[in-house]
Each structure stands twice: as structure tokens, then as C-alpha cells.
Amino acid sequence: MKRIAQTIVFWGVMLALWEMAVAYFKVQSYLMPPPSAIFRAAWEVHPQMLADTWVTTVEVLTGFVAAVAGGLVIGVVISYSAFARRTLYPLVTALQSMPKIALAPLMIVWFGYGFASKLASTFLFAFFPVVVATMGGLASVARNLDEHFRALGASPWDTFWRLYLPAALPAFADGLKIAMPLAVIGAIVGEFIGSEEGLGHLIVFASAAARTDVMFAAILMVTLLAVVLYWVIERLARFVWWRGINV
């Protein structure tokens, strides 16, 4: 209880200092609105902002799930197939090195202003860390365990399902932790380039309308969304607790 109180008091003091500093130095509200103005703006636009939050959340989650599924499959295929390693892997590496943000306008051209282009953009941002994490996890399986499974006469399928996949899970979970914030970035970037709804759209709209207080409210909302989603992944990752345990 005392620890929570410390956190609350600290941030309360910080907000109060911010409020007083803005008033004391007479900072223009469009440059740096005081916290009170941000909360007022948030209340004012909250029906719109909640609808936008929902839109962005759906984009992030669908794109993330697609990226995780696709990244897992591609990671496994590249790990197991020498052919895929020679053909697919260079493409994956090249795409990963490319700034994904440069592709976002192309996604709008291809998939339009709606949901599909945001899904594509989110997917692009979150996909590669999952591929790399899956490959790293599969490559981390100890040689002695592989030999043990061979000695036990395990089929390739059993070896994958009972050894390689569970052994790769901790690294895979690390990949998800990297991919989740990137998925949020992907959705917001997609909305920046061209959209009619979503928190990214709200930020761009507030900027055009010189409503810095609304912009701050939207940014806080994006941050809150990213933190909550990351926390969920963090919780789920605790189910794979056998990271670094060699027995």
C-alpha cells in the first residue's frame, strides 16, 4: 500500500509542477497544454476517442496475430528447409533491413484507406522479430537432447513437437514481446499515412486543427494501449518459464 502511495504522490507532484510551470512561464497552450487542459480535452472528445481506440486495438490485435502465425510458420520453414534458407531467407533479411515505414504508403495504394492497409502495415512491423525469434529458439536446442531423441527412436514429427517446439518457446515469447509494441507502431503509422478513423487519425486530425490538448490525450491513449497489450504478452510469456534451464 505504501509503495502504491509513493507512486501516486510522485506523479501527482510531477503533474502539479507541470501545471504550475505552464502557467508561470505563460507557455502557449498549442505548444504545451497544462495537464488540466489535456484532461478536459480528453473528456470533451471521449466518445470519438474511445471509438478510435477500439478501431486501433482491433487493427493491432489482428495484425499481431497474423504476424505471429506467419512468423512462426516462416521461421519453422526456414529452420528446417535448406531450400527455404537459400531462397526465402535472403528475402526475409532484405525486407527486415528495409525501413518498414517506407512501405506504409504502398500499403495504402494497394489496400486502400480502410482496415486492410492497417492490417498489412501492422503485420509488416511485427512479422520479422517473430521470424528471427522462432529461428533462434529452434537453433538453441541442445545437441545432446537431439541425440537423446534420436537414440529413443523419435520420429521427426515427435522430435519437433515434443523437443524443438517447447525448447523454442522462451525465445519465441521474447520475440512476441518485441513484436507487440511494433504492432502498435505499425497500426499508428498506417493511420498516419491515410485513414478515416483510429488513434493515429485522431492525432493527425488534432494536429491539423491546432488542438495540441487533444493530441496529447490521443498520445496518452496510444501509450496506455501499448502498455496494456505489452503487459498481457508479458503475463502470457510467464507460462514458458524454462528459459535457460539446462537439466
Partner: protein, 289 residues
């Protein structure tokens, strides 16, 4: 006294004709009796080396050995003599160049169900409980649950692991983990146990205790055992026969029949009049004085 005599008689009965009787006599590995459980004939092995210019290394050179059903044989050699490679070839894990390996009459070119291999590392899967780890091999070998589950419960009891059955391996000591990995192999009831320095990573005290336990298990089930070790005392304590290998290329130098009564215990064995002789003889063969 009579039980000891009986065990010795049994021991001689399981031995093959043509083997020497007198204690402490070393013989060259030449005799190839028929109908052995493990039959290795003229095995060669050369590692090519990964680098293009690396000269190939001869690991094993014309190795032949024959192990009877229910016999406990140790391969003794310095590290790098190819004894682990030989064991892996017998297990069907590593291909060999020349010659032939037969286990229970069958040619071995890949792992077969008759063979169970215990490695130096305990090879438990950290995400499974001890019981699930013991069941793992039976699942992989498609042994029905009705058979495997009671068998594993009995093994856990026998190995003193019943209390830890539902714990994860990292909660166990190194010795208990190694016991569990032996249990994992015993759950498959293999005819042949191949062991590659199974207690090599453990401290001396734990190692001695587990050797006693290994003998107890073997006396009950009487699998054919081929054990690879670099410990002379361990080899003498456990084996019916010790095969000494020399290195580069790995060759069978000599073999020594350990004519000591069973059941053996660390106390009785060390007091036996022939014990010191075996140790001295093997030390000399290994080049340790």
C-alpha cells in the same frame, strides 16, 4: 558363503566358451564367439574434418568385440581414444566406415528398440515433470499407457524418486537427475544398455552411490551392459570384463576378465585379494602408475 559361490558359478555359466578362467589373465581381443548379444566386427571410423584442408582423422581402427547376453562389459580408455564414438556406433547414432555391428542378431545402422542409451548429460526435458520425463521414451516408442504408467511408477519407487515424481528436473540434485535418466531408459526395458560415462559429471561420492545402485538394478534385470568409462575403479567394480582401448587411432589394446564374486559392494570388493591386482594391471595398461 554359499550364495557367493552360487553367484560365481552363475557368472561362469554366462561366460562364453574359449574365455580364460584364471584370474588376472589378460587376453588379446580375438575370439569371436557366435550368438553374442553385441557383436562388433572390424569397425573402422574416420572423421573427414569440416575444413577443406583438414586431414582426415582415424578414430577407430579395426575394432572387434563380442559381448554375451547378460554380460557387463566396460570399455576403459583415456579421453579421445574413440570409446564414445564406438558406443555411438553400436547405438546406431553414428555411421561407421568398415565392418559390421549386430545387436541381438540384427544389423544396426540406426537406433533400434532393443538398445537403451544413457548419456553423461541427464537429458531431462525441463518443461516436463520427472514422471513425464520417464514416460517420454515410452510415448516415443508407442508403448501403451496401460503398460508404461505402472512401469514408470514402479521405477520411480525403485529409484527413490517417488517423492519427486511431480517435480520438475531443475528441482532435483544432479545425482537424482541422472538416476531419473536411467529410469527413463529402463522404462523401455531394453535388452541392451549402452552407457557413456553416465556418472562422469557427478562428484565422487554420488558417483560411488549410483554405481552401487546401478549394480543392484543390473542384478535384478540382467540387461547386457556396455559401459564407457575412464575410471579404473568403476570399471573393476561393475564389470565382468574390461576392454582397454588405446588412442589415435582407437584400437582395442587388451581385455581383462574381472573374476570377482557377485553381488558386489564397495566394502567387500576392495578387500578381495584379487582386487588390487586388477587395479594395478589396468593402471599399467592405461599407462598410469
Amino acid at each position: 558363503m554359499s550364495t557367493v559361490t552360487k553367484t560365481v558359478t552363475q557368472l561362469h555359466a554366462t561366460r562364453l566358451a574359449g574365455e580364460p578362467g584364471p584370474a588376472g589373465e589378460a587376453t588379446a581381443a580375438a575370439a569371436q564367439p557366435q550368438g553374442a548379444m553385441i557383436e562388433v566386427r572390424h569397425i573402422d571410423k574416420t572423421f573427414a574434418g569440416k575444413q577443406r584442408n583438414a586431414s582426415p582423422i582415424r578414430i577407430l581402427d579395426d575394432v572387434s568385440l563380442s559381448i554375451a547376453d547378460r554380460e557387463f562389459v566396460s570399455i576403459l580408455g583415456a579421453s579421445g581414444c574413440g570409446k564414445s564414438t564406438l558406443l555411438r556406433i553400436v547405438a546406431g547414432l553414428v555411421p561407421h566406415d568398415g565392418g559390421e555391428v549386430r545387436v541381438a542378431g540384427q544389423r544396426v545402422s540406426r537406433p533400434v528398440p532393443e538398445i537403451g542409451v544413457v548419456f553423461q548429460t541427464s537429458n531431462m526435458l525441463p518443461w516436463l515433470t520427472v514422471r513425464q520425463n520417464l514416460l517420454l521414451g515410452t510415448r516415443l516408442r508407442k508403448i501403451p499407457k496401460e503398460t508404461s504408467e505402472p512401469r514408470v511408477s514402479a521405477l520411480l519407487e525403485m529409484l527413490g524418486l517417488a517423492q519427486f515424481a511431480d517435480h520438475h528436473p531443475h528441482e532435483l540434485s544432479g545425482g537424482m537427475r541422472q538416476r531419473a535418466s536411467i529410469g527413463q531408459i529402463l522404462a523401455l526395458e531394453p535388452k541392451v544398455l549402452l552407457m557413456d560415462e553416465p556418472f562422469g559429471a557427478l562428484d565422487a561420492l554420488t558417483r560411488d552411490n549410483l554405481n552401487v545402485e546401478l549394480l543392484r538394478i543390473w542384478q535384478e534385470h540382467r540387461q547386457t551392459v556396455l559401459l564407457v568409462t575412464h575410471s579404473i575403479e568403476e570399471a573393476v567394480f561393475l564389470s565382468d570384463r574390461v576392454i582397454v582401448m588405446s588412442a589415435r587411432p582407437g584400437k582395442i589394446e587388451q581385455e581383462v576378465v574381472i573374476d570377482l564374486p557377485r553381488p558386489r559392494s564397495p566394502q567387500t570388493i576392495k578387500q578381495h585379494p584379487r582386487y588390487a591386482g586388477y587395479i594395478a594391471q589396468l593402471s599399467q595398461l592405461m599407462g598410469v602408475y
